[in-house]
Protein backbone atom coordinates (compact mmCIF):
# COMPACT_ATOMS: atom_id res chain seq x y z
CA UNK A 1 0.00 0.00 0.00
CA UNK A 2 1.54 3.31 -1.06
CA UNK A 3 1.58 6.37 1.16
CA UNK A 4 0.85 9.87 -0.01
CA UNK A 5 4.02 11.36 -1.44
CA UNK A 6 4.16 14.46 0.77
CA UNK A 7 3.78 12.69 4.15
CA UNK A 8 7.01 13.20 6.16
CA UNK A 9 8.78 9.85 6.64
CA UNK A 10 8.79 10.04 10.46
CA UNK A 11 5.04 10.73 10.72
CA UNK A 12 2.90 8.06 12.36
CA UNK A 13 -0.67 7.04 11.60
CA UNK A 14 -3.29 9.36 13.10
CA UNK A 15 -5.94 6.80 12.16
CA UNK A 16 -4.08 4.22 14.23
CA UNK A 17 -3.73 6.75 17.06
CA UNK A 18 -7.43 7.51 17.22
CA UNK A 19 -8.36 3.82 17.05
CA UNK A 20 -5.93 3.00 19.86
CA UNK A 21 -7.40 5.87 21.90
CA UNK A 22 -10.93 4.53 21.38
CA UNK A 23 -9.77 1.12 22.67
CA UNK A 24 -8.11 2.63 25.71
CA UNK A 25 -11.19 4.69 26.66
CA UNK A 26 -13.31 1.54 26.43
CA UNK A 27 -10.91 -0.30 28.68
CA UNK A 28 -10.75 2.59 31.14
CA UNK A 29 -14.45 3.55 31.08
CA UNK A 30 -15.33 1.86 34.35
CA UNK A 31 -12.31 3.23 36.19
CA UNK A 32 -12.88 6.77 34.83
CA UNK A 33 -16.51 6.63 35.89
CA UNK A 34 -15.48 5.51 39.37
CA UNK A 35 -12.99 8.39 39.61
CA UNK A 36 -15.57 10.88 38.42
CA UNK A 37 -18.06 9.59 40.96
CA UNK A 38 -15.50 10.56 43.60
CA UNK A 39 -14.76 14.06 42.29
CA UNK A 40 -17.51 14.97 39.80
CA UNK A 41 -20.95 13.92 38.64
CA UNK A 42 -19.89 10.49 37.41
CA UNK A 43 -20.54 11.03 33.72
CA UNK A 44 -16.99 11.48 32.48
CA UNK A 45 -16.26 7.85 31.64
CA UNK A 46 -19.51 7.59 29.69
CA UNK A 47 -18.96 10.95 27.97
CA UNK A 48 -15.43 10.05 26.92
CA UNK A 49 -16.45 6.68 25.53
CA UNK A 50 -19.52 8.21 23.81
CA UNK A 51 -17.17 10.60 22.05
CA UNK A 52 -14.73 7.81 21.26
CA UNK A 53 -17.46 5.56 19.83
CA UNK A 54 -18.76 8.38 17.68
CA UNK A 55 -15.21 9.13 16.58
CA UNK A 56 -14.78 5.49 15.56
CA UNK A 57 -17.92 5.61 13.40
CA UNK A 58 -16.61 8.75 11.74
CA UNK A 59 -13.15 7.17 11.27
CA UNK A 60 -14.72 4.17 9.57
CA UNK A 61 -16.72 6.49 7.33
CA UNK A 62 -13.58 8.49 6.51
CA UNK A 63 -11.69 5.28 5.68
CA UNK A 64 -14.52 4.04 3.51
CA UNK A 65 -14.47 7.35 1.64
CA UNK A 66 -10.75 6.93 0.88
CA UNK A 67 -9.81 5.05 -2.28
CA UNK A 68 -9.41 1.38 -1.44
CA UNK A 69 -10.54 1.95 2.16
CA UNK A 70 -6.92 2.24 3.27
CA UNK A 71 -5.85 4.35 6.20
CA UNK A 72 -2.46 4.89 4.57
CA UNK A 73 -4.01 6.92 1.76
CA UNK A 74 -5.98 9.18 4.11
CA UNK A 75 -5.41 12.82 4.73
CA UNK A 76 -3.51 12.60 8.05
CA UNK A 77 -5.63 15.40 9.54
CA UNK A 78 -8.90 13.62 8.71
CA UNK A 79 -8.95 11.18 11.68
CA UNK A 80 -8.25 14.06 14.08
CA UNK A 81 -10.96 16.19 12.44
CA UNK A 82 -13.34 13.23 12.77
CA UNK A 83 -12.53 12.91 16.47
CA UNK A 84 -12.85 16.71 16.91
CA UNK A 85 -16.33 16.78 15.41
CA UNK A 86 -17.40 13.72 17.42
CA UNK A 87 -16.30 15.17 20.75
CA UNK A 88 -17.47 18.72 20.01
CA UNK A 89 -20.87 17.85 18.56
CA UNK A 90 -21.98 14.70 20.28
CA UNK A 91 -20.69 14.79 23.85
CA UNK A 92 -22.47 16.60 26.67
CA UNK A 93 -20.90 18.20 29.70
CA UNK A 94 -17.75 20.25 29.24
CA UNK A 95 -14.76 17.87 29.47
CA UNK A 96 -15.70 15.96 26.31
CA UNK A 97 -16.02 19.05 24.10
CA UNK A 98 -12.73 20.35 25.57
CA UNK A 99 -11.09 17.16 24.25
CA UNK A 100 -12.71 18.08 20.93
CA UNK A 101 -10.86 21.40 20.99
CA UNK A 102 -7.59 19.54 21.54
CA UNK A 103 -8.29 17.28 18.53
CA UNK A 104 -9.21 20.34 16.47
CA UNK A 105 -5.86 21.98 17.25
CA UNK A 106 -3.98 18.75 16.56
CA UNK A 107 -5.80 18.42 13.22
CA UNK A 108 -4.80 21.94 12.20
CA UNK A 109 -1.16 21.36 13.18
CA UNK A 110 -1.00 17.97 11.43
CA UNK A 111 -2.54 19.52 8.30
CA UNK A 112 0.10 22.27 8.36
CA UNK A 113 2.96 19.79 8.77
CA UNK A 114 1.58 17.26 6.30
CA UNK A 115 1.59 14.52 8.94
CA UNK A 116 1.83 13.62 12.64
CA UNK A 117 5.43 14.72 13.17
CA UNK A 118 7.06 15.91 16.39
CA UNK A 119 6.74 19.61 15.42
CA UNK A 120 3.05 19.00 14.58
CA UNK A 121 2.43 17.34 17.95
CA UNK A 122 4.27 20.12 19.75
CA UNK A 123 2.30 22.85 17.98
CA UNK A 124 -1.03 21.01 18.23
CA UNK A 125 -0.76 20.23 21.94
CA UNK A 126 0.38 23.80 22.71
CA UNK A 127 -2.49 25.36 20.75
CA UNK A 128 -4.98 22.86 22.19
CA UNK A 129 -3.82 23.76 25.69
CA UNK A 130 -4.14 27.47 24.89
CA UNK A 131 -7.68 27.00 23.51
CA UNK A 132 -8.78 24.94 26.53
CA UNK A 133 -7.34 27.53 28.89
CA UNK A 134 -9.05 30.38 27.02
CA UNK A 135 -12.38 28.59 27.26
CA UNK A 136 -12.23 27.07 30.70
CA UNK A 137 -10.20 29.76 32.42
CA UNK A 138 -8.29 26.97 34.22
CA UNK A 139 -4.65 27.28 35.24
CA UNK A 140 -2.21 24.53 36.24
CA UNK A 141 -3.00 23.51 39.81
CA UNK A 142 -6.78 23.87 39.45
CA UNK A 143 -7.22 20.06 39.33
CA UNK A 144 -8.41 19.84 35.74
CA UNK A 145 -7.17 18.20 32.54
CA UNK A 146 -4.82 21.20 32.20
CA UNK A 147 -2.69 19.58 34.92
CA UNK A 148 -1.82 16.77 32.49
CA UNK A 149 -1.84 18.77 29.26
CA UNK A 150 0.38 21.61 30.46
CA UNK A 151 3.35 19.42 31.49
CA UNK A 152 2.92 17.40 28.29
CA UNK A 153 3.11 20.59 26.23
CA UNK A 154 6.20 21.66 28.19
CA UNK A 155 7.87 18.27 27.62
CA UNK A 156 7.22 18.48 23.86
CA UNK A 157 8.50 22.04 23.71
CA UNK A 158 11.69 21.05 25.56
CA UNK A 159 12.42 18.10 23.26
CA UNK A 160 15.50 18.80 21.08
CA UNK A 161 14.97 19.51 17.37
CA UNK A 162 14.90 16.24 15.48
CA UNK A 163 13.46 14.18 18.34
CA UNK A 164 11.51 11.34 16.68
CA UNK A 165 7.76 11.23 17.49
CA UNK A 166 8.05 8.03 19.56
CA UNK A 167 10.60 9.59 21.90
CA UNK A 168 8.72 12.91 22.06
CA UNK A 169 5.48 11.12 22.89
CA UNK A 170 7.18 9.03 25.58
CA UNK A 171 8.36 12.25 27.23
CA UNK A 172 4.93 13.86 26.86
CA UNK A 173 3.05 10.84 28.20
CA UNK A 174 5.42 10.55 31.17
CA UNK A 175 4.92 14.22 31.97
CA UNK A 176 1.15 13.82 31.66
CA UNK A 177 1.07 10.81 34.03
CA UNK A 178 3.19 12.74 36.53
CA UNK A 179 0.63 15.55 36.21
CA UNK A 180 -2.20 13.08 36.79
CA UNK A 181 -0.58 11.81 40.00
CA UNK A 182 -0.17 15.44 41.07
CA UNK A 183 -3.90 16.13 40.70
CA UNK A 184 -4.58 13.62 43.46
CA UNK A 185 -2.84 16.00 45.85
CA UNK A 186 -4.76 19.06 44.67
CA UNK A 187 -7.97 20.63 45.82
CA UNK A 188 -10.11 21.69 42.86
CA UNK A 189 -10.58 25.36 42.10
CA UNK A 190 -12.40 24.97 38.77
CA UNK A 191 -14.91 22.56 37.39
CA UNK A 192 -17.49 20.55 39.22
CA UNK A 193 -15.14 19.02 41.76
CA UNK A 194 -14.44 22.54 43.06
CA UNK A 195 -17.70 22.26 45.02
CA UNK A 196 -16.36 19.29 46.96
CA UNK A 197 -13.38 21.01 48.56
CA UNK A 198 -11.21 18.64 50.54
CA UNK A 199 -13.46 15.65 49.81
CA UNK A 200 -11.89 15.46 46.33
CA UNK A 201 -8.35 15.34 47.68
CA UNK A 202 -6.54 12.05 47.10
CA UNK A 203 -8.43 11.34 43.88
CA UNK A 204 -6.81 12.13 40.49
CA UNK A 205 -8.76 14.22 38.02
CA UNK A 206 -10.46 11.99 35.42
CA UNK A 207 -10.01 14.58 32.65
CA UNK A 208 -6.28 14.58 33.30
CA UNK A 209 -6.30 10.77 33.07
CA UNK A 210 -8.02 11.10 29.67
CA UNK A 211 -5.21 13.36 28.41
CA UNK A 212 -2.57 10.89 29.56
CA UNK A 213 -4.44 8.03 27.84
CA UNK A 214 -4.51 10.05 24.61
CA UNK A 215 -0.74 10.60 24.63
CA UNK A 216 -0.01 7.02 25.73
CA UNK A 217 -2.18 5.79 22.83
CA UNK A 218 -0.08 7.76 20.36
CA UNK A 219 3.12 6.40 21.86
CA UNK A 220 1.76 2.87 21.65
CA UNK A 221 0.95 3.28 17.96
CA UNK A 222 4.46 4.56 17.18
CA UNK A 223 6.06 1.71 19.15
CA UNK A 224 3.80 -0.93 17.65
CA UNK A 225 2.08 0.15 14.43
CA UNK A 226 0.85 -3.44 14.01
CA UNK A 227 -1.62 -3.78 11.20
CA UNK A 228 -3.26 -0.50 12.01
CA UNK A 229 -1.87 1.29 9.00
CA UNK A 230 -4.45 -0.61 6.96
Amino acid sequence: MSTTTDTPPEAFSTDGWMRRFVESTRTAKGRLTALDQEVGDGDFGVNLSTGADSALRRLDAARAATAGGAAAGMDPAAPLEAAATAFLDEVGGTSGPLFGLLFQSLAAAVADAGGATTPALTAGVAEGLAAIRRVGDAAPGDKTLVDALHPAAEALRAAPVGTPPGRALALAADAAWTGVRGTARLRARRGRSSYLGERAEGVPDPGAVGVALLLASAQAVVDDPGDRLG
Binding site: L88, T94, L101, Q104, V135, G136, D137
Partner: protein
Protein backbone atom coordinates in the same frame (compact mmCIF):
# COMPACT_ATOMS: atom_id res chain seq x y z
CA UNK B 1 -43.96 16.18 39.99
CA UNK B 2 -47.24 17.35 38.55
CA UNK B 3 -46.34 20.98 39.12
CA UNK B 4 -45.79 21.94 35.50
CA UNK B 5 -48.08 21.35 32.53
CA UNK B 6 -45.87 19.09 30.45
CA UNK B 7 -45.69 15.58 29.07
CA UNK B 8 -43.05 14.56 31.58
CA UNK B 9 -40.83 13.06 28.92
CA UNK B 10 -38.32 15.90 28.78
CA UNK B 11 -40.12 17.44 25.82
CA UNK B 12 -41.18 20.71 27.49
CA UNK B 13 -38.40 22.85 25.98
CA UNK B 14 -38.59 21.44 22.42
CA UNK B 15 -42.41 21.53 22.56
CA UNK B 16 -42.36 25.16 23.66
CA UNK B 17 -39.82 26.04 20.97
CA UNK B 18 -42.03 24.54 18.27
CA UNK B 19 -45.03 26.43 19.57
CA UNK B 20 -43.06 29.64 19.83
CA UNK B 21 -41.66 29.34 16.31
CA UNK B 22 -45.09 28.66 14.87
CA UNK B 23 -46.66 31.55 16.77
CA UNK B 24 -44.03 33.96 15.52
CA UNK B 25 -43.43 32.46 12.11
CA UNK B 26 -43.45 35.94 10.57
CA UNK B 27 -40.38 36.87 12.68
CA UNK B 28 -38.22 33.78 12.91
CA UNK B 29 -37.59 30.16 12.05
CA UNK B 30 -36.56 27.22 14.24
CA UNK B 31 -33.75 24.91 13.18
CA UNK B 32 -35.00 21.76 14.94
CA UNK B 33 -31.85 19.74 14.21
CA UNK B 34 -29.46 22.22 15.78
CA UNK B 35 -31.80 23.88 18.28
CA UNK B 36 -31.61 27.56 17.46
CA UNK B 37 -34.01 30.30 16.37
CA UNK B 38 -33.06 32.51 13.44
CA UNK B 39 -34.49 35.93 12.53
CA UNK B 40 -36.26 35.88 9.17
CA UNK B 41 -35.73 39.48 8.19
CA UNK B 42 -32.72 41.12 9.83
CA UNK B 43 -31.68 44.58 8.64
CA UNK B 44 -29.60 44.32 5.45
CA UNK B 45 -27.32 47.02 6.88
CA UNK B 46 -25.90 44.62 9.50
CA UNK B 47 -22.24 43.70 9.07
CA UNK B 48 -22.18 41.54 12.20
CA UNK B 49 -24.66 38.89 13.33
CA UNK B 50 -25.89 39.11 16.93
CA UNK B 51 -26.47 35.87 18.84
CA UNK B 52 -27.35 35.07 22.42
CA UNK B 53 -28.58 32.10 24.36
CA UNK B 54 -28.78 30.46 27.73
CA UNK B 55 -30.90 28.15 29.80
CA UNK B 56 -34.66 27.98 29.26
CA UNK B 57 -37.04 29.05 32.02
CA UNK B 58 -36.22 32.75 31.60
CA UNK B 59 -38.72 33.46 28.81
CA UNK B 60 -39.08 35.73 26.98
CA UNK B 61 -35.25 35.82 27.22
CA UNK B 62 -33.69 35.08 24.68
CA UNK B 63 -36.09 33.70 22.08
CA UNK B 64 -38.47 36.64 22.50
CA UNK B 65 -35.76 39.03 21.37
CA UNK B 66 -35.04 37.44 17.99
CA UNK B 67 -36.12 39.67 15.12
CA UNK B 68 -35.56 42.95 13.33
CA UNK B 69 -33.51 45.37 15.42
CA UNK B 70 -32.34 42.89 18.06
CA UNK B 71 -30.96 39.32 17.93
CA UNK B 72 -30.25 37.42 14.71
CA UNK B 73 -30.27 34.12 16.56
CA UNK B 74 -30.95 32.60 19.98
CA UNK B 75 -29.83 29.23 21.36
CA UNK B 76 -31.98 27.93 24.22
CA UNK B 77 -30.61 25.27 26.53
CA UNK B 78 -32.72 23.01 28.67
CA UNK B 79 -34.30 24.54 31.79
CA UNK B 80 -31.60 26.52 33.63
CA UNK B 81 -28.87 24.72 31.62
CA UNK B 82 -26.41 26.19 29.17
CA UNK B 83 -26.96 25.50 25.48
CA UNK B 84 -24.59 22.94 23.95
CA UNK B 85 -21.62 24.38 22.07
CA UNK B 86 -23.01 22.82 18.88
CA UNK B 87 -26.17 24.93 19.07
CA UNK B 88 -24.09 28.07 19.47
CA UNK B 89 -21.67 27.02 16.72
CA UNK B 90 -24.38 26.15 14.19
CA UNK B 91 -26.49 29.20 15.15
CA UNK B 92 -23.43 31.41 14.73
CA UNK B 93 -22.69 30.00 11.26
CA UNK B 94 -26.30 30.76 10.28
CA UNK B 95 -26.30 34.26 11.83
CA UNK B 96 -22.80 35.43 10.87
CA UNK B 97 -22.50 38.36 8.47
CA UNK B 98 -19.56 39.62 6.47
CA UNK B 99 -17.72 40.70 9.62
CA UNK B 100 -18.65 37.74 11.74
CA UNK B 101 -20.80 37.23 14.80
CA UNK B 102 -21.06 38.77 18.27
CA UNK B 103 -22.09 36.60 21.23
CA UNK B 104 -23.98 38.19 24.11
CA UNK B 105 -23.29 35.89 27.07
CA UNK B 106 -24.68 36.06 30.59
CA UNK B 107 -21.93 35.43 33.10
CA UNK B 108 -22.41 31.82 34.18
CA UNK B 109 -19.63 29.24 34.07
CA UNK B 110 -21.51 26.82 31.81
CA UNK B 111 -22.51 29.53 29.33
CA UNK B 112 -18.99 30.94 29.27
CA UNK B 113 -17.51 27.53 28.52
CA UNK B 114 -20.01 26.47 25.87
CA UNK B 115 -20.00 29.82 24.06
CA UNK B 116 -16.20 29.78 24.39
CA UNK B 117 -15.92 26.33 22.76
CA UNK B 118 -18.19 27.52 19.95
CA UNK B 119 -16.00 30.62 19.51
CA UNK B 120 -12.89 28.42 19.19
CA UNK B 121 -14.66 26.34 16.55
CA UNK B 122 -15.68 29.48 14.66
CA UNK B 123 -12.08 30.72 14.73
CA UNK B 124 -10.97 27.32 13.36
CA UNK B 125 -13.50 27.84 10.53
CA UNK B 126 -12.24 31.38 9.90
CA UNK B 127 -15.43 33.08 11.13
CA UNK B 128 -14.64 36.19 13.22
CA UNK B 129 -16.32 36.02 16.60
CA UNK B 130 -16.29 38.25 19.69
CA UNK B 131 -18.10 38.26 23.01
CA UNK B 132 -19.90 40.72 25.24
CA UNK B 133 -20.21 39.37 28.76
CA UNK B 134 -23.17 40.71 30.75
CA UNK B 135 -22.52 40.67 34.49
CA UNK B 136 -25.00 43.15 35.93
CA UNK B 137 -26.15 41.43 39.14
CA UNK B 138 -25.19 43.66 42.03
CA UNK B 139 -25.92 40.97 44.63
CA UNK B 140 -22.94 38.92 43.44
CA UNK B 141 -20.55 41.88 43.37
CA UNK B 142 -17.99 40.55 45.84
CA UNK B 143 -14.27 39.88 45.80
CA UNK B 144 -15.06 36.47 47.34
CA UNK B 145 -17.02 35.34 44.29
CA UNK B 146 -14.38 34.08 41.85
CA UNK B 147 -16.89 33.59 39.04
CA UNK B 148 -17.85 37.30 39.18
CA UNK B 149 -21.27 38.94 39.03
CA UNK B 150 -24.09 36.96 37.41
CA UNK B 151 -25.79 38.14 34.23
CA UNK B 152 -29.50 38.94 34.69
CA UNK B 153 -32.09 41.58 33.68
CA UNK B 154 -29.60 44.00 32.13
CA UNK B 155 -29.10 41.48 29.31
CA UNK B 156 -32.36 42.63 27.69
CA UNK B 157 -31.20 46.26 27.55
CA UNK B 158 -27.76 45.31 26.25
CA UNK B 159 -29.33 43.14 23.52
CA UNK B 160 -31.76 45.92 22.49
CA UNK B 161 -29.10 48.61 22.35
CA UNK B 162 -26.57 46.40 20.56
CA UNK B 163 -29.23 45.35 18.05
CA UNK B 164 -29.89 48.98 17.15
CA UNK B 165 -26.16 49.64 16.91
CA UNK B 166 -25.64 46.58 14.70
CA UNK B 167 -28.36 47.91 12.36
CA UNK B 168 -26.32 51.10 11.88
CA UNK B 169 -23.57 48.95 10.38
CA UNK B 170 -21.01 48.95 13.18
CA UNK B 171 -18.15 46.45 12.89
CA UNK B 172 -17.36 43.58 15.26
CA UNK B 173 -14.79 45.38 17.42
CA UNK B 174 -16.95 48.52 17.69
CA UNK B 175 -19.98 46.50 18.75
CA UNK B 176 -17.99 44.52 21.30
CA UNK B 177 -16.59 47.72 22.77
CA UNK B 178 -20.06 49.32 22.92
CA UNK B 179 -21.63 46.24 24.48
CA UNK B 180 -18.90 45.93 27.10
CA UNK B 181 -19.35 49.60 27.99
CA UNK B 182 -23.15 49.22 28.22
CA UNK B 183 -22.84 46.16 30.44
CA UNK B 184 -20.46 48.07 32.69
CA UNK B 185 -23.00 50.91 33.08
CA UNK B 186 -25.83 48.61 34.04
CA UNK B 187 -26.71 46.95 37.37
CA UNK B 188 -29.62 44.82 38.54
CA UNK B 189 -30.93 43.76 41.93
CA UNK B 190 -33.69 41.20 42.53
CA UNK B 191 -35.90 40.31 45.46
CA UNK B 192 -38.30 37.40 45.96
CA UNK B 193 -41.05 36.52 48.39
CA UNK B 194 -41.30 32.93 47.13
CA UNK B 195 -38.99 30.63 45.15
CA UNK B 196 -39.84 29.13 41.79
CA UNK B 197 -41.21 25.59 41.65
CA UNK B 198 -38.28 23.26 41.00
CA UNK B 199 -39.12 21.22 37.86
CA UNK B 200 -37.45 18.09 39.23
CA UNK B 201 -39.25 17.96 42.58
CA UNK B 202 -42.41 20.00 42.03
CA UNK B 203 -41.60 21.82 45.26
CA UNK B 204 -40.36 25.36 45.91
CA UNK B 205 -36.61 25.60 45.21
CA UNK B 206 -36.29 27.08 48.72
CA UNK B 207 -38.77 27.93 51.44
CA UNK B 208 -39.27 31.41 52.88
CA UNK B 209 -41.24 32.45 55.90
CA UNK B 210 -44.16 34.75 54.91
CA UNK B 211 -42.47 37.53 56.85
CA UNK B 212 -39.19 37.17 54.93
CA UNK B 213 -37.79 38.30 51.60
CA UNK B 214 -34.84 36.84 49.70
CA UNK B 215 -32.76 39.94 48.92
CA UNK B 216 -30.39 39.68 45.94
CA UNK B 217 -31.88 36.47 44.57
CA UNK B 218 -30.63 34.92 41.29
CA UNK B 219 -32.68 33.63 38.38
CA UNK B 220 -32.01 29.91 38.95
CA UNK B 221 -33.30 29.43 42.46
CA UNK B 222 -29.96 30.15 44.07
CA UNK B 223 -30.43 31.53 47.55
CA UNK B 224 -29.59 35.19 47.94
CA UNK B 225 -26.72 36.44 50.08
CA UNK B 226 -29.33 37.82 52.50
CA UNK B 227 -32.76 36.95 53.82
CA UNK B 228 -34.38 40.10 55.21
CA UNK B 229 -37.61 40.85 57.11
CA UNK B 230 -40.45 41.77 54.81
CA UNK B 231 -41.02 45.50 54.52
CA UNK B 232 -43.48 47.79 52.67
CA UNK B 233 -42.77 48.49 49.01
CA UNK B 234 -41.55 52.10 49.46
CA UNK B 235 -38.62 51.33 51.78
CA UNK B 236 -37.81 48.12 49.88
CA UNK B 237 -37.56 49.86 46.51
CA UNK B 238 -35.63 52.72 48.11
CA UNK B 239 -33.10 50.29 49.55
CA UNK B 240 -32.67 48.49 46.21
CA UNK B 241 -32.54 51.65 44.09
CA UNK B 242 -30.08 53.36 46.43
CA UNK B 243 -27.69 50.43 46.09
CA UNK B 244 -28.11 50.47 42.30
CA UNK B 245 -27.55 54.23 42.07
CA UNK B 246 -24.39 53.93 44.16
CA UNK B 247 -23.09 51.26 41.78
CA UNK B 248 -24.18 52.81 38.47
CA UNK B 249 -23.35 56.36 39.61
CA UNK B 250 -25.15 58.38 36.94
CA UNK B 251 -24.04 62.02 36.71
CA UNK B 252 -26.53 64.43 38.35
CA UNK B 253 -29.36 65.27 35.96
CA UNK B 254 -28.33 62.54 33.52
CA UNK B 255 -30.79 60.01 32.12
CA UNK B 256 -31.13 56.35 33.09
CA UNK B 257 -32.99 53.53 31.38
CA UNK B 258 -35.14 51.64 33.89
CA UNK B 259 -36.27 48.02 33.75
CA UNK B 260 -38.83 46.82 36.30
CA UNK B 261 -38.93 43.09 35.63
CA UNK B 262 -41.27 40.42 36.93
CA UNK B 263 -39.57 37.10 37.72
CA UNK B 264 -42.58 34.99 36.78
CA UNK B 265 -45.36 35.29 39.35
CA UNK B 266 -45.65 38.97 40.25
CA UNK B 267 -48.68 40.83 38.89
CA UNK B 268 -48.50 43.80 36.52
CA UNK B 269 -50.39 45.72 39.21
CA UNK B 270 -47.45 45.28 41.58
CA UNK B 271 -44.79 45.95 38.93
CA UNK B 272 -46.29 49.34 38.07
CA UNK B 273 -46.46 50.20 41.78
CA UNK B 274 -42.75 49.31 41.98
CA UNK B 275 -42.11 51.60 39.03
CA UNK B 276 -43.92 54.51 40.71
CA UNK B 277 -41.87 54.07 43.88
CA UNK B 278 -38.67 53.86 41.87
CA UNK B 279 -39.43 57.01 39.86
CA UNK B 280 -40.29 58.91 43.03
CA UNK B 281 -36.86 58.09 44.42
CA UNK B 282 -35.06 58.89 41.15
CA UNK B 283 -36.87 62.25 40.99
CA UNK B 284 -35.69 63.07 44.50
CA UNK B 285 -32.11 62.13 43.53
CA UNK B 286 -32.19 64.29 40.39
CA UNK B 287 -31.84 61.29 38.07
CA UNK B 288 -34.14 61.20 35.05
CA UNK B 289 -35.86 57.86 34.28
CA UNK B 290 -35.76 58.72 30.58
CA UNK B 291 -37.07 55.34 29.33
CA UNK B 292 -38.86 52.56 31.20
CA UNK B 293 -39.72 48.95 30.57
CA UNK B 294 -42.20 47.38 33.00
CA UNK B 295 -43.27 43.75 32.68
CA UNK B 296 -41.85 40.23 32.41
CA UNK B 297 -38.63 40.31 30.40
CA UNK B 298 -36.29 37.90 32.19
CA UNK B 299 -38.12 35.39 34.35
CA UNK B 300 -37.13 32.54 36.65
CA UNK B 301 -39.97 30.09 35.91
CA UNK B 302 -42.69 31.01 38.43
CA UNK B 303 -40.62 32.85 41.01
CA UNK B 304 -42.59 35.41 42.98
CA UNK B 305 -40.17 38.30 42.79
CA UNK B 306 -39.02 41.25 40.74
CA UNK B 307 -35.79 42.85 39.65
CA UNK B 308 -34.79 46.46 39.12
CA UNK B 309 -32.23 47.41 36.48
CA UNK B 310 -30.68 50.83 35.97
CA UNK B 311 -28.54 51.66 32.96
CA UNK B 312 -26.71 55.00 32.91
CA UNK B 313 -27.55 56.48 29.50
CA UNK B 314 -26.53 59.33 27.25
CA UNK B 315 -28.11 60.79 24.11
CA UNK B 316 -26.59 58.14 21.88
CA UNK B 317 -27.84 55.33 24.14
CA UNK B 318 -31.36 56.80 24.11
CA UNK B 319 -31.29 57.03 20.30
CA UNK B 320 -30.31 53.35 20.14
CA UNK B 321 -33.09 52.52 22.60
CA UNK B 322 -35.67 54.43 20.51
CA UNK B 323 -34.69 52.74 17.23
CA UNK B 324 -37.45 50.48 15.90
CA UNK B 325 -37.52 46.88 17.08
CA UNK B 326 -39.80 44.04 16.03
CA UNK B 327 -39.50 40.88 18.12
CA UNK B 328 -41.99 38.68 19.95
CA UNK B 329 -41.38 40.42 23.29
CA UNK B 330 -40.21 43.94 22.35
CA UNK B 331 -41.67 45.98 19.53
CA UNK B 332 -41.92 49.69 18.76
Amino acid sequence: MAAYFENGDGSLVPDALRGFARTHADLLTLDPDHGFLLARDPAPTRRVGLLSGGGSGHEPLHSGYVGRGMLDAACPGLVFASPHNRQVYEGSLAAARAEGVLHVVKNYTGDRINFGIAAERLAHRGVPCARVLVDDDLATDSADIVAGRRGTGGTVLVEKLLGAAADTGLGLAELQELGTRLAARCRTLAVASAAHTAPTTGRPAFVLDPEELEYGVGIHGERAPKTVPREPLGPLVERMATALLDAVAPAPGSPVIVLVNGLGAVTPLELYAVHAQLCALLDRRGVEPARSLVGEYVTALDMRGFSLTLLAADDRTLRLYDAPVRTAALHW
